[in-house]
Amino acid sequence: MAALTREETANLIAEVLEVYPEKAKKDRAKHLMINDKELESSKKCITSNRKSLPGVMTMRGCAYAGSKGVVWGPIKDIISISHGPIGCGQYARAGRRNYYVGTTGVDAFCEMNFTSDFQEKDIVFGGDKKLAKLIDEIEMLFPLNKGISVQSECPIGLIGDDIEAVSKKAAAQINKPVVPVRCEGFRGVSQSLGHHIANDSVRDWIISNRDGQAFETTPYDVAILGDYNIGGDAWASRILLEEMGLRVVAQWSGDGTLAEMENTPKVKLNLLHCYRSMNYISRHMEEKYGIPWLEYNFFGPTKIKESLRKIASFFDDNIKAGAERVIEKYTPMMDAVIAKYRPRLEGKKVMLYVGGLRPRHVVGAYEDLGMEVVGTGYEFAHNDDYDRTIKDMGDATLIYDDVTGYEFEEFVKAMKPDLIGSGIKEKYVFHKMGIPFRQLHSWDYSGPYHGCDGFAIFAKDMDLTLNNPCWNLMKAPWQKDASEAEKKAA
């Protein structure tokens, strides 16, 4: 079945919005659009990065999630203290499966939960003393940490604790960076501001630490930014870059270390995978250190080839030849993957609703497998993300910003995709509706999906999900005969 036409999509949006009160309808209408490839700017058709409406189900997170969970958390040798009540830290603890090499509790700390566990008395009398004590204890118990970051939870901002002063004093005492991060959950409309705050704190407290120090550079130094090594993603990307002759100095921040981050200003080119969460620091490095940055996409062979060539164009003929060599080496492998899985996946329709980069980045990978993305949307994107999405998506496809639980279900019922890619909050709703589903935040505990090795896993996972025999068993056997006539997709 072909995707919906422009009018059909418009009708669908109107129909879905019908249930809202007048004011909510007007507001939500601004967040839904029908893609038009001709458009240069998304400005006139979609509004993004706005406060979610009260009363609807939104999938967004908070600034703390963006800072602790996404940017700071995966740095393996920095201890990130969740400063505040205990729950935030516990639920943000290694939930994104940012893999790393190291011994947890000795020289790597991502999977551990460090928190000041606020009680009533800390709210009443302030938690600064507790924080100072906590830093002392950390230093005693985990002497191999390379630095500490203090991730504020909501109460810290509300009671006005001076974490900056405590951090400064502690940093002088233990002679390591102690970074106060003002990422209270109530800041901003989504986790997006948390990324920004985290980037700013890296800029202010870390990036210039080794300015003026000697560092042995090569002309081929690059840094991977915005790759959080989910299920090993950054490793799958890194080997491609290294095989083409580049030297990867730093990984931000999956499997990354403080030393790598401090050395990043010495690289020749910043490679930016997740634009949304790390463009801020790339822009800063471009201004202060004159390092150009480049967005790339390592999902699916078409985009990998394109990106490798784009990256190589910043370097000399050596690297350009290297890129061609890498492409040549991996093309047979990827062709084999496509030959195996494309017949099983051809023509299937996918709907996506993910976070910062995947709603547009994985489109190429699905297209390589012959699948069609009929709808996509972001939880917390800004308009610059939608500008980039318009180019990647087909004409007349549906694009939704901060989609509500109700809208997403209705869109799915009407468009009947064969596969949905979204997060854990949506997963079981759609499983119960009988629709194959993959989590695209955590790769559904699989991965990596980046790079050439990742593509093979991606294709296999999509096949296993879509062609799983369980989808034929959605009806109980005694209901089968009667229901054959009224074959309604539940």
Partner: protein, 75 residues
């Protein structure tokens, strides 16, 4: 007044960036564009306009500046 950043895109055009709002837009015209006087009114492709105090042309882009909003393009 807002902090803004002006950078050059791959095609050589100027791009305006307002970190506070994550607003990224190409600059359509810049009032003064000579070696000794650079800046003034910036017209953006999204219809907005900003004013930056003219300075000597920066040796290297991107550059962070303070800008005043003249015409709103927001929403």
């Amino acid at each position: 007044m807002a902090n803004i950043m002006i950078r050059q895109n791959a095609a050589g055009g100027l791009v305006f960036y307002l970190p506070k709002r994550d607003l990224e837009a190409a600059i359509e015209s810049i009032e003064f564009d000579t070696a000794e006087k650079w800046g003034g009114v910036l017209m953006l492709e999204n219809g907005g306009s900003y004013f930056v105090d003219p300075i000597a042309k920066p040796a290297r882009l991107p550059i962070s500046l303070r800008a005043r909003r003249l015409g709103a393009a927001e929403d």
